[in-house]
């Protein structure tokens, strides 16, 4: 432990890393930065799925897009490793913070009150783990094709872009999946929870990173829930369109 403000010395790299990975503010910043990265991915992911609509791509366009992503080779694996790293840091830093917070109040109050905190902020610790389990399920479902994926392997599609390549029919698999009302409900609920998680997360991460001021603070309070709602709507519209027969 150093003395007072006068004796704080320039830090070595090890100290910088320690401050980021051990201090309460450093850990929070890690959660915020990784959260921002995951939100950015979620928006790209959502926009990609909108190509399921005939107007934006349909079976041909969506399968071409899926094939393009699958043929990125090393880049694909780099992206996957990056997403895995973002998720791991997000979760581990959060767990460390939760442990710190728990030990900061060993004895609770007899009467417990919430005054201003939003429902989204109060339920981060519930929505977070559920989303983690959902993401694992989602990967096993559409990426690994091992859960709720009967017949997916056999579904193939010949690209009409001149290459005549036969690729996995990502479009067909999704259509088959969401003709099942149960799967649709699971996915729509999950992206709904994602919206709740991010309604707090997006606004909160800017405050955590200190990227606010008198102008942005009120705007961010609105922008968080708004962007989160947009993301949920963008994700949910595809399975709902399939279930209702708009996408066939």
């Amino acid at each position: 432990m150093e003395g007072d403000v006068v004796s704080v010395q320039p830090a070595g790299v090890a100290k910088v890393v320690a401050r980021l990975t051990q201090s309460s503010l450093g850990l929070k910043a890690l959660v915020a930065v990784t959260g921002l990265g995951l939100v950015a991915f979620a928006f790209v992911h959502m926009a990609g799925h909108l190509q399921m609509f005939a107007l934006l791509g349909g079976q041909e366009g969506y399968n071409q897009y899926a094939h393009k992503l699958q043929s990125l080779g090393a880049l694909k694996w780099a992206a996957r490793a990056g997403l895995l790293a973002l998720t791991l840091v997000h979760v581990i830093a959060t767990l460390k913070l939760i442990a710190r917070n728990r030990s900061a109040r060993p004895i609770g109050y007899a009467s417990n009150h919430w005054l201003t905190a939003s429902v989204a902020s109060q339920t981060m610790r519930v929505t977070g783990p559920i989303l983690l389990f959902f993401i694992i399920y989602h990967l096993l479902h559409f990426t690994a094709l091992v859960v709720s994926a009967q017949g997916y392997e056999a579904m193939e599609y010949m690209l009409r872009d001149g290459s005549n390549l036969v690729v996995g029919d990502a479009y067909g698999r999704m259509v088959q999946a969401f003709r099942d009302p149960l799967l649709t409900v699971v996915y729509v609920l999950a992206v709904g929870l994602l919206g709740v998680h991010l309604a707090h997360g997006i606004s909160s991460l800017f405050q955590t990173l200190g990227l606010t001021n008198s102008t942005y603070r009120p705007a961010l309070a609105t922008a968080g829930p708004l962007l989160a709602g947009l993301l949920t709507a963008g994700f949910a519209v595809v399975p709902l369109a399939i279930l209702t027969g708009v996408i066939q």
Partner: protein, 249 residues
């Protein structure tokens, strides 16, 4: 009016505490909350019982000594009000009022409702000051400070260090307190030379004391008797990350 008080009684830091019920009769709505407790203590002493220990000093809302979590809310149901400035007219006849001490690991209960807030003092000692030779008082306005900056500094400097922010925070974090102490200097020219060292030292002490981390619930802002804005937390976060990543020379 008649009330029932459920008061946390605890002999010392080591002893286990428990709630004890006290029936109060003829409480005047014009009494302050602490006067009501004074009344309880007079009754207890008359019966030869141990009075309830609680912190208080100026009783005019400026010293930050009084504490008390009243019905789950630090400083009670009134906004921007310390416990000493809370009046019994905010309660109804027949109410059951639960009175607890600040709950946080760094704020150990000394006795009943009195907690040790020395942790705040130790955080202050790490950087809650500017280390300049003071000499004689400078002439007024010798150092020009824009009104807006002076206002921002003054808003942060309103903090009386009572600890309600910690008591209200679900994580028992002291970030509003530390943020206020960091922000009050960050807006003034006198605070600039030590600006980034200050935030590193004070946050380090905050963590070492065992306070939790901020989750941006903003419950602290809602209970702060001086209405310190969570703006100061954002400013502290920015200065801290800048200090860590850019470094102090």
């Amino acid at each position: 009016m008649n009330l029932t008080l459920k008061v946390w009684r605890q002999k010392n830091a080591q002893a286990a505490g428990a709630f004890v019920d006290y029936a109060m009769s003829d409480v005047s709505p014009d009494m302050s909350f602490l006067e009501m407790l004074d009344g309880l203590n007079e009754t207890l002493q008359a019966k030869g019982q141990e009075p309830v220990a609680f912190d208080h000093d100026c009783r005019e809302g400026i010293c930050g000594t009084c504490s008390l979590v009243i019905n789950g809310i630090p400083h009670g149901p009134d906004r921007a009000t310390t416990t000493c400035q809370l009046h019994m007219r905010k309660f109804k006849a027949g109410d059951v009022i639960t009175i607890e001490p600040w709950r946080a690991a760094p704020f150990a209960v000394i006795r009943d409702l009195v907690v040790d807030r020395g942790a705040f003092e130790r955080i202050q000692r790490r950087g809650g000051f500017v280390s300049v030779g003071t000499g004689h008082a400078p002439d007024a306005n010798a150092m020009a400070i824009p009104k807006r900056q002076a206002d921002l500094a003054m808003d942060a400097a309103q903090c009386i260090g009572c600890g309600a922010c910690v008591a209200a925070c679900k994580n028992a974090s002291a970030m509003l307190f530390v943020g206020a102490k960091v922000s009050q200097y960050a807006h003034l020219p006198q605070g600039q030379p030590e600006r980034f060292r200050r935030v590193l030292a004070m946050v380090e002490q905050h963590d070492a004391e065992g306070f939790g981390a901020c989750t941006n619930y903003q419950e602290c802002e809602a209970v702060c008797p001086k209405e310190i804005s969570v703006r100061v937390i954002g400013e502290m976060n920015r200065d801290y990350l800048r200090a860590v990543l850019v470094g102090v020379e």
